[in-house]
Symmetry: C2
Subunit: 212 residues, 2 copies
Amino acid sequence: MELELDILKENKRLALENERRLTTNGILAIDVMGSVGSGKTSLIKAMIHELKSRSRIAVIEGDVTTTIDADLIASEGVAAVQVNTGKECHLDANLIRKALDRMSLNSLDLIFIENVGNLICPAEFPLGSKKRLVVISVTEGPYMVLKHPMMFLGADAVAINKVDLADAMGVSPTKLMADVAKLYPKSVAVGTSCRNGVGVEKVIEALGLKAR
Amino acid sequence: MELELDILKENKRLALENERRLTTNGILAIDVMGSVGSGKTSLIKAMIHELKSRSRIAVIEGDVTTTIDADLIASEGVAAVQVNTGKECHLDANLIRKALDRMSLNSLDLIFIENVGNLICPAEFPLGSKKRLVVISVTEGPYMVLKHPMMFLGADAVAINKVDLADAMGVSPTKLMADVAKLYPKSVAVGTSCRNGVGVEKVIEALGLKAR
């Protein structure tokens, strides 16, 4: 559909604009994507906990309707800007542009953008972030990588979360890692358990945040 | 957006057409919705197992790109019609119309329609089914009902799946049931564990399939 192509093209243009604006301000932005309840907020919280002593961090929280995640993030003591999409199933570059307008960009080093919980729609809408992190959970079963290839193309890192429940679920994190490696070899897949802090440091490294 | 309204209106028209066609053929169709890996396929399989001796059943399997679920369903010995949506995040009435064209409607009593794994987009697109079943899982965390109210409005039944993992997750099925009851009191919420067959009979009852 032509209209759809126009929307995607305009989104790409605004994403590039956001990227330039972020680079000018020396900010690294990370788009965090994944299904409902995969653990995006928990992983962002865990990373903030590790990084906040050496980086100035803020979070843009995308959600259909509530402020639950923004409230959770605020408990880490960093600024969280809420973006409600209404019925829309993904953030877009224009929503991020407006969120950036509300932030003090010259006093930030790092922005996590938590996308709407959904393994399909966010893939098509770049936001202007330099990096992409996809969070999946072993509790989503053995097929979620194979079923949603678009989501993993271009992901700098993939967190395979809730590995502490892998045995109870009968799902193999190693197999999921192999699925990711086959789809997009450049991606670094890491088994994580936010509850126990497992793998958080490795995700930070995979996103190039270690030296920051 | 006007175009969006037109699409929704045309979808509604086709949904009514599907509904009439199903009624004429004495078929009950059930739209099964829920996030990635919530257990939609497993629950459909478990219900088919209970019902297939007394009802003639087929399944329409919606998926972005693979035939994994259709293959799983076929193992129960009923016909599964695959519908791949490409990049689309939901089934629509037109896709169902075309799927019905490929089925022998005069030799069926019951059709399960497994929607694309997603807790947002399918809510807006009625398909022509008489009943709606939403499948969520305790492993998706404590907030998925509150975060996606649209999905639960109009759901005849809500299966709260993987209850055997509720303690390991620290998530209360009772609280999730209360969230559903508050949003849409007409909905019947049932705790299920497809792995152990827990609750399957109750879901069948909640969907009015017991007497069939």
